[in-house]
C-alpha cells in the first residue's frame, strides 16, 4: 500500500454508546474474549426495547451550564461526542486548528415537547376549532428556545459555540444516508485538497417517543425484549432496536496529520453511497459496485455491518456479505449499540478505526450468527444499509 499526502486518515474518535463513554470502553469490548454485556432498557418505552445512553457527565465536554441548558439531550450528546473526538485528536485546545476546521454533521431533528404536544391533542379532542386551539396553545405553551433545540443545524451550531469549530459548518439530513453522505463528502473534499481537517459525525437519541413514533409509522421497531441482531423475531415488531449513540471522527489529510505528529487510527481507502429500488437483486448489485475496490488482499478483513435489524433486509445484507466477503467475519454492531439512524455509519467507522488501530480480534457480537476472528484485521469494511433507503460502504486500512 502506497501512502499519499492526500490520503484521508482518522485521527480522532469520539464515541458514546450504551456500552460507555469514549474510546476506552469501546476498545475494551472490541478486544474482549466474548460479546459485551447487554445494555437494554425494556421498561421505560415498553413495548419498545432501546439501548440507553450511558451515564454522562456533560460538564466534561460542555463546560458552561448555560450552554447545557440551551440544549436537549440530542444536541448535548452530539456536542459532547464532538468534544471527545477533538480531545482524542489532540486538537481540543488548539484554537487555530478548530478555527479552520471544517465540520459536517449528520442530523435529524431535536426533541419535541411531549407534554405540550399531549396537552394540545387532548384539548383538541374536546374542541372542533383545532386550528384556533393550535394558535392559542403554541403561542402560550412553547418555550421560545425549544425551537433552537429542535433545529437540525443547531447541533453543529452548538459545536461551534462550545468547541469553537468554525472553519465551516454543514448539516446533512435524511436518515442513514445523511451519515453516509457526510463522511463521503468529507472524504472527497480532503482527497481533493478542499479541506485539510474535518470533524464529521452525529448523535442520535433512541429514548424519545417522537423518534420511536417515526419507526412505528412503518412498523419497523422491535417490540418485547431484545433478541440477537441476526435472528430477530418477525412476530415481535419490525426488528429495529434503536440505540442512543454519539459518533464523531476527526478526518485529516495524511500530510496535515503527519505535519502535526498526529496518531493515525486508520486510513479510509474508499467510500461510496447510493440509493434506488431494492427489488430483484438491485440492492445487491449496487452493493457490489460500492464494495468494488475491496479485494480482501493483504491480510485479514473484518466487516462492521450497520445492519439495522429490520426484518428481511438484515438477512439480505448478511447473505450478500457472506457471498462477497466469504472469509471475513461479520460484526453486526447494532446488536450491541442499537441502531442509530443518521449516526449509524459514523459509528461503524469509529468502531472499525478502533479495531484496526488496536489490532483487535473482535469477539462475535452474535455468536450464533457470526464467526470467530482468527487474527486482527488489516482491512475493515463498514456497511450501512438504510432501514428504508440509501446505502453506503467504506473500506478502511490499518496503518503500517
Amino acid at each position: 500500500m502506497t501512502k499519499a499526502p492526500n490520503d484521508v486518515v482518522i485521527t480522532g474518535i469520539g464515541i458514546v454508546t450504551c456500552q460507555g463513554v469514549g474510546t476506552e470502553p469501546h476498545i475494551a469490548l472490541l478486544k474482549a474474549g466474548s460479546a459485551p454485556e447487554l445494555k437494554i432498557e425494556a421498561e421505560r418505552f415498553a413495548p419498545y426495547p432501546v439501548h440507553p445512553m450511558p451515564e454522562i457527565d456533560w460538564s466534561q465536554q460542555i463546560a458552561k451550564r448555560g450552554d447545557q441548558r440551551q440544549m436537549e439531550n440530542w444536541q448535548r450528546l452530539g456536542v459532547f461526542t464532538a468534544g471527545l473526538a477533538l480531545d482524542d485528536a489532540g486538537l481540543k485546545e488548539n484554537a487555530e486548528a478548530c478555527g479552520t476546521m471544517d465540520m459536517i454533521v449528520a442530523a435529524g431533528g431535536g426533541e419535541r415537547d411531549i407534554n405540550v404536544d399531549s396537552l394540545i391533542v387532548d384539548e383538541g379532542l374536546k374542541r372542533n376549532d383545532r386550528e384556533h386551539l393550535l394558535n392559542e396553545k403554541l403561542t402560550t405553551e412553547l418555550r421560545p428556545t425549544l425551537f433552537l433545540a429542535q433545529l437540525s443545524n443547531l447541533m453543529a451550531g452548538n459545536i461551534s459555540i462550545v468547541h469553537k469549530v468554525t472553519g465551516s459548518s454543514r448539516t446533512f439530513m435524511g436518515e442513514e444516508a445523511a451519515g453516509i453522505s457526510a463522511i463521503e463528502t468529507a472524504f472527497a473534499r480532503i482527497r481533493a485538497g478542499q479541506s485539510t481537517h474535518t470533524l464529521v459525525g452525529g448523535g442520535f437519541i433512541a429514548e424519545r417517543p417522537d423518534v420511536i413514533l417515526l419507526y412505528e409509522a412503518l412498523g419497523a421497531h422491535a417490540t418485547g425484549g431484545w433478541t440477537p441482531l441476526w435472528s430477530r423475531d418477525p412476530e415481535a415488531g419490525g426488528g429495529i432496536v434503536s440505540g442512543s449513540v454519539g459518533a464523531f471522527l476527526v478526518l485529516e489529510s495524511r500530510a496535515h496529520a503527519e505535519a502535526r505528529g498526529a496518531r493515525i487510527y486508520a486510513m479510509i481507502e474508499d467510500i461510496g453511497g447510493d440509493r434506488g429500488g431494492r427489488e430483484d437483486g438491485r440492492l445487491e448489485r449496487r452493493l457490489d459496485v460500492l464494495a468494488g475496490l475491496a479485494n480482501g488482499e493483504g491480510g485479514a478483513t473484518v466487516v462492521f455491518s450497520g445492519a439495522s435489524g429490520i426484518n428481511d433486509l438484515s438477512t439480505r445484507e448478511k447473505t450478500w456479505l457472506e457471498g462477497r466477503f466469504p472469509n471475513a467475519p461479520v460484526r453486526g454492531y447494532a446488536g450491541v449499540t442499537g441502531h442509530a439512524l443518521e449516526t449509524q455509519f459514523p459509528l461503524g467507522l469509529a468502531l472499525a478505526g478502533l479495531a484496526l488501530a488496536n489490532e483487535a480480534k473482535v469477539p462475535a457480537f452474535d455468536p450464533a450468527g457470526e464467526t470467530a476472528m482468527e487474527r486482527p484485521a488489516e482491512t475493515a469494511i463498514v456497511t450501512t444499509i438504510g432501514h428504508h433507503r440509501g446505502e453506503g460502504v467504506a473500506i478502511l486500512k490499518a496503518e503500517k
Binding site: 440551551q70 384556533h132 403561542t139 425551537f147 429542535q150 472553519g167 435524511g174 463528502t185 482527497r191
Partner: protein, 428 residues
Amino acid sequence: MTKAAYRDHLGRPIVAVTGMGVITSLGQGLKDNWAALSGGVSGIHGITRFPVDGLNTRIAGTVDFVDLPAENPVERSYFYARETTEEALAQAGLSGDFGGPLFLAAPPIEPEWSARFALADRAPPSQRPGDAYDRFLTVLRDKPDPALYEAWLFGAISERLADRFGTRGLPVTLSTACASGATAIQLGVEAIRQGRTERALTVGTDGSVTAEALIRFALLSALSTQNDPPQKASKPFTKDRDGFVIAEGAATLVLESLESAIARGARVLGIMKGCGEKADHFHRTRSSPDGGPAIATIRAALEDAGIAEDAIGYINAHGTSTPENDKMEYLAMSTVFGEGLSKIAVSSNKSMIGHTLTAAGAIEAVFSLQTMLTGTLPPTINYQNPDPTIVLDVVPNVKRDKQVSAVLSNSFGFGGQNASLVMTAEPA
C-alpha cells in the same frame, strides 16, 4: 478555446450555470418572477392557509397558487423543487437521466398537526397527562401508516427528485438554516472541482410555512409584525424595519463544468466563480458583534473566485429586514469593501419575496445571475425611511439599468451559518 480557458486561477475546472428555475410568491418561472421583481412588486400577503387570529404576525410570502396531492411541507417542498428543476433542465437543454449528483437544501420537517390530531382521534383515551405519544404508538402498532412515515422523513424529498430526474449516487439533503440554498450550490461547485462529476443539480426549496413554524419564529421575535399593509412589511435597511417576513419558494441551478457546457453547445448563463463560508461561535441566533465571521465569509468567496473587491458591481444582500442582520451585514460589507462600497449597488430581493429561508440562497443566486443577464438591478422596495447608520445605495424602490459583470450574494443563518457566492457574467 484552449484547455486553459476552462480552468480558473487555481487550475480548477470553471463552473458554469446552464439552467435556472424559480418559484416564489411572485409566481412560477423565471420570466414572471423577474418581471415582478424588477417591477418592484411585492409577493407578501395576508395568510389564508391557516387561521391567524390571535397571532402577532399574520402575513407571509407563501406560494398559494399550486395544487398539491396532500397538504404538508414535504409535498410542498417537493412540488416547488420539481417544478423549478423541470424549468432549469429545459433551459439547460437536458433531458433523460441527469447523470450527476443532487444537492438539495430542504427545510427540517416536523410532522403535521393534522396528522397528530388524526392519530389522537383513533387512539385510546388518555390515562395520564403527557401520554399522547404512547397512544399514537398504540394506533400505529395496530396499523402502520407508510404515507405518514414518508411525510416525516428528511430524505423523502431528495428521494423523489432523484428518481424523477435520474440523478447519480446518494443525494445530499442539507440544512445550513437560512444559508442552505447557497451551501447546496457550494457543494455542487466542489463536486465539479473535485472532478467527481461534469454536472450537478443544486436545488433550494422551502414549503414549510405552517402555524407552528410561524409561531416558533415569532416567539424568537424574528418576524415583522407590521401586518398592514402586507406589501410594506419587508423593508430592509430602513429605520423602521422590525423583522423578516416568512416566505416560501424554490430555485434550481444546473451547474456544469464550463468545458462540458461548451462541448455540448449549451448556453452559458453565468459562472459560479467562488464560494466562501465561515461559522460563527458567538450565539445561537445572533452574529458576532464585530461581524468577523461574515467578513471572513465574503473575503473567502472573493479569494475563491480570484477577484478583487473592486470587481464586484452589485451585491445581492441577505437583507432580511431584521434589525440585527441588516446592521451586521452592512458592517461586514463596509469592512470588506471600504470606501468602494459607495460605488456598489446593494439590493435585497427579500423586500419583495420575503425570506424564503432554506431556499433563499438558491433563489437569490438565480436573481443575481439574471441581474447580469438583463443588465437590470432589482430594487429594494419599501425604502422610505433609510436607516441613517446604514449608508448604502440600495437601488431604492425602482429598478435601475446597469450592466454588471460580477455579483456577490450573501446568506446568513441561525446557528452561526454564513455563506457567500461570487458569480460572474459568461466570459466573452
